[in-house]
């Protein structure tokens, strides 16, 4: 209904992404190949999955700093359930997913039931979940997963990496939920004015609880894919993931104050970051230089969006 208004930032970002792709492609002939692009898709899947959920979280005006820790905890639990408790691997996967989801639910509970600001609540669980991962594993790795398990992180379906299908599917589902369903409308409403949303008969706490639980689920799903991709389990997995994810979401035009943001924007933001990381590396820019560029692009893109908005008199 208000596509033109919401897509303003996304348009800038889209143009920026296209320019970046063209420039990067001209800098290195290895960049714009199907193989490389698919591979980059594989590499961004975990961050991407979490970023989809994080978009919902930030649109409600919240934030979730604990996603990286949930990823680490889920990975450890997967290994512990399978190796130490001797569960069959599929059962261990389901159980680990359930635990990660539960961790997200706990975040939601602390935020909705005890009214702790999300930043503080998840700052605490960031330390807690990582600590649990470290304690449970005693810093030991779990290795030696069966070959079939590696399909989730390394396999291909119709020439496209498995997790890219997952990410694609998740993106469509997330875009539909956020953009077209009553749940999505409720999400925006909560972010824009929580009281008015509650007074309009929206179950604010339930929606938020679902969203934080969803963030837990996505982090757990990313954990399983990650373990499958790197074939081992470590308690420090996913350290610093939250900053990458938040950078992607914010670059995608989601307002940190809530009420605004789209899945398309998040996906564009992720693509732009991944393209810069990959393309600059292929063009011979070193990692530290790339970090600087990403910082500049983040500030620049948001600045451009803000100025554009202002010129439109908004």
């Amino acid at each position: 209904m208000t596509a033109s208004r919401l897509l303003r930032h996304e348009t800038i970002l889209g143009v920026l992404t296209v320019i970046a792709l063209i420039v990067l492609a001209s800098l290195s002939d290895k960049f714009f190949t199907a193989e490389n692009l698919l591979n980059q898709g594989r590499l961004m899947s975990e961050v991407g999955l979490v970023a989809l959920a994080m978009t919902f979280v930030i649109v409600t005006g919240g934030i979730d700093l604990s996603v990286g820790s949930i990823l680490g905890l889920t990975a450890i639990l997967l290994g512990v359930f399978w190796k130490n408790l001797g569960l069959p691997l599929p059962a261990a996967m389901v159980l680990a997913l359930a635990c990660g989801t539960f961790a997200g639910w706990v975040n939601g509970l602390i935020i909705t039931r005890f009214r702790v600001p999300p930043l503080i609540a998840t700052l605490a669980t960031l330390a807690l979940y990582r600590g649990l991962a470290e304690g449970i594993s005693e810093a030991r790795s779990v290795r030696g997963y069966p070959e079939w398990f590696f399909f989730f992180g390394q396999g291909e379906v119709l020439g496209v990496p498995f997790q890219l299908w997952v990410l694609g599917l998740a993106t469509i589902v997330a875009a539909v939920i956020l953009g077209l369903t009553p749940f999505g409308r409720a999400t925006y409403a909560i972010g824009a004015n929580e009281t008015a949303a509650r007074f309009s008969g929206i179950r604010v706490d339930a929606v938020k609880l679902w969203i934080y639980t969803g963030a837990g689920f996505c982090s757990a799903l990313a954990a399983v894919i990650f373990v499958s991709r790197v074939t081992t389990t470590r308690s420090d997995m996913g350290t610093g993931l939250e900053l990458d994810v938040i950078t992607g979401v914010v670059l995608g035009g989601t307002s940190i104050f809530g009420g605004r943001g789209t899945i398309i924007g998040t996906v564009l933001g992720l693509i732009l970051i991944q393209a810069l990381k990959n393309g600059l590396a292929l063009s011979g820019v070193k990692g530290d230089g790339t970090i600087v560029v990403i910082g500049l692009v983040l500030i620049g893109a948001i600045l451009a969006g803000a100025l554009f908005d202002r010129n439109r008199g908004g």
């Binding site: 700052l123 470290e134 304690g135 900053l243 230089g289 500030i299």
Partner: protein, 324 residues
Amino acid sequence: MTALSAHPGRSALHRFIGGYGQEIVVLLSIVALFVVVGIINPRFLSDTNINSIFAGNAYIAIAAIGMSMVIIAGHIDVSVGALIGVIATIAGTLAVNGYPVWVAWVVPILFAMAVNAGVGALVAYTRIPSIVVTLGMLSILKGGLISITAGEWISDLPTEFMIAQMRPFGIPSAVYFMVLLTAVAALFMRYTDFGRSIYAVGGNMEAARAAGINPERTVVGVFILHGLFAGIAGILFATQLQVIQSTVPPNLELTVITASVIGGVSILGGTGTVIGSTLAAILFACIGSALIFLNVSAYWLRAVLGLLILATVLADMARRRRVT
């Protein structure tokens, strides 16, 4: 209804407790911690241990002062860890290249203030959320530092440069800095117009404007002050040891933000004190040390720390609910 004597002003003590609830809770926690751990392992109370808890973490407390001001003004800075790393490197480079010691101390602090003036200006005048600007700044500082220094350690620092290692009257100078800066900042926040305008801007920006305060200038000023404190923290950080790593200290920003928040600074802005954040930084240092003294399994240390943070947060929420 209009009985004039209904509230002749609450008692001074009542007012004090009402105004410093969280600070008192944190202070009591510190005392309780010292008592309990001291009983279990008396060495915890030795002057050397207390000295090292305070001295070793003074830079975190000092950085938390500036962070508290930023959060009280309704903003946040996630780049402070990177900034401290950069300051330490600049200071060390100047010191080993033969510049006078005071130059090596002052120039990096000015640099930090200049960087933060830029951040503050972006935040205040373009209305980009501070978390976005500082997230970008984090990348820029971190990447820039590694590009330029390649992480080359700086050693052979002149002795007179090592301000944090000086011990006037047997107490590490870092402790003096922490106490002095906290006191000055607390007085500044309470007794100056600028200090109060920080609360005003964080509490209600439009009301601040109507009260004749220039919110933009206040925000820039707060970030510059934050740069000053981060700068001093960086110098102490740099002079604590004989070598400077030329890297960004890992997760420092989270530690600093957590200290501010646990110290009672509302993440929504407008309320909190710098005394609280310093106390909270000390509490954290104490907990970290106490857990080792209590023989908590090293593997579970972080989980316990997380649990304690969560407990503090929930206790604070419960306290607030009782008050209102």
